[in-house]
Symmetry: C2
């Protein structure tokens, strides 16, 4: 029996991924501190079929990771680790660098240490477009530099990439480093759509938006993200490190567009109140164009563009919250 | 009174720097855990003139850094931090990632946290060419990517750059990130020259060299390095982050050349025994060409090329060890 270990697997992306990993000859062990993740996000069908086991543990605490690896290795041969554990509250990480240090970076350090111990040779890592910082109006390809992230979140994702890169020189056989775009869908645990829907449920008459609404970003639906990751995982390549942007192929949609769509779905007629400036918070990159040419070269294309992904996610998140 | 705080200031580079910082209106506070640094490396003239204070503290322990900042701030206004603290034993860091995590990265995290607390707005950081990893035969300019370091040392230097970059977006006014080349000179605490001289003192008849001796690297003398850093510090620029390679302008010298020069200086006639391969250890980049065009554009040129720097350093290190 092969075992996939998924750190942060009870969160938004993990919940969408693990159903695809569990198979006849493969068990999935989810490790999650349940800060945002929830056990019920993990498919109950897969759990009751005995193919998925959920362990509550903090991936930034070495002893807890060691214990989880010990349990997982009793099920079979751990041959891959998916590292999806991270802080997802970027402003909180800007206010206190200890947040991303612990949840975004030390998770990586602890997981790699245990992988070395258990001779697990393959890692799939959820990095982020935040590693690019704010390079202005250039196209963000995987090999661009300099990398000067503007949030502690981005910094600790880059730090994690760097540590994985060193591990690939030393003991890993394969490291897929996925640079995620903004991802939408359910079960939503954070992000602009959940935020707007929650705000409107709290006060149905108006929606206060950070910034002037002109921020434009590309969004990918989580179903397309998962498909891309599985495609990359299945590819045979010579490169030990596959560094790859995952994202939509369009220029994205504005915050104004999202706000208006959420209002019309959740609370039609609510007034939208905009702030000023085109940055929502320190660490927020107003607009960037993200190259996914490399991934497209592998034959991948998203089923949903940014606008369609956002529309579908708004529907899903509203339903998740009973609207 | 202004105060310069120099983390790792009792080490090799710090010992050469602090004499240039201490002035009539400026005190220097050295913080060093004395793992490689030594109090006697710090100019006794400067110490007895009351311009330099040495505090033994571990920069990777927040409480100790906080205490050192508190003491330093009693002398005056801390307006800059030089961050030279790091592990300097790259192979040790490859064997155990905890080494560079603590000494190369957590030092950065702790210093930045205290800088934010004390509103210190300027940092000068000793980064490294190791952040580039092994990109093959390309010219390493500051904006090249991808950054895939091959040692935990390089990874934790890149992680430190990333954290400083995020801090520059949040609270710093100025961050000079110096990417150091191989630096030679005295007081030597580590490095190939010290290693060779020590080996020959231990067994004067032969010198065993890791690798086949064809590894070629560029070396800068520490006197040129210090001059470059002071030049960059004195420049007025609009950029908050100055990311800059410091290094010689030549292609460097081979390990064989260094071995032969050390032998002829320290133990003429000793046999040199080479290993195989052109990598000395995991994390060792065999050959790279390092662009210093940006720095040259500021009017800087090294007084010594690689060969002259190595020759002078061998003399200095041999004298330091009584040969």
């Amino acid at each position: 029996m092969k075992v996939s270990l998924v750190a942060g697997g009870a969160g938004f992306v993990g919940a969408n991924l693990i159903g695809h990993l569990a198979q006849a000859e493969r068990s999935v062990v989810v490790i999650d501190n349940m800060s945002r993740g929830k056990e019920q996000f993990v498919s109950s069908a897969a759990v009751s079929a005995g193919r998925v086991i959920v362990i509550k543990a903090d991936c930034s605490v070495q002893e807890e990771v060691a214990e989880a690896f010990a349990k997982a290795s009793q099920l079979g041969d751990i041959d891959e680790v998916w590292h999806l554990a991270a802080n997802s509250d970027i402003p909180a990480g800007v206010a206190d660098s200890a947040v991303d240090l612990k949840d975004t970076f030390m998770t990586t350090h602890c997981l790699l240490k245990e992988m070395k111990q258990y001779q697990v040779k393959e890692i799939h890592f959820a990095s982020s477009s935040a590693v690019y910082g704010d390079l202005g109006p250039v196209t963000l390809q995987e090999d661009i530099g300099p990398l000067l992230p503007i949030s502690n979140y981005g910094a600790m994702k880059l730090a994690s990439e760097a540590l994985i890169s060193a591990a690939a020189e030393s003991f890993l056989f394969k490291a897929n480093i996925f640079r995620f775009p903004n991802v939408v869908g359910v079960p939503a645990t954070h992000g602009v759509i959940l935020d707007f829907v929650n705000k409107l449920i709290g006060s149905p008459d108006q929606l206060v938006v950070l910034g002037d609404g002109t921020q434009q970003k590309a969004y990918l639906h989580v179903s397309d993200l998962v498909e891309a990751m599985l495609l990359i995982r299945a590819r045979e390549t010579k490169n030990k490190i596959e560094l790859i942007n995952i994202g939509p192929v369009d220029e994205g949609v504005t915050v104004r567009h999202i706000a208006e769509t959420v209002v019309s779905r959740v609370s039609p007629g609510a007034k939208i109140v905009y702030g000023s400036g085109n940055k929502g918070w320190v660490g927020d990159v107003p607009k960037f164009s993200y190259s996914t040419l490399k991934l497209q070269g592998y034959g991948w294309a998203p089923k949903l563009g940014s606008a369609a992904a956002v529309r579908r996610a708004i529907d899903e998140v509203a339903s998740q919250l009973g609207k």
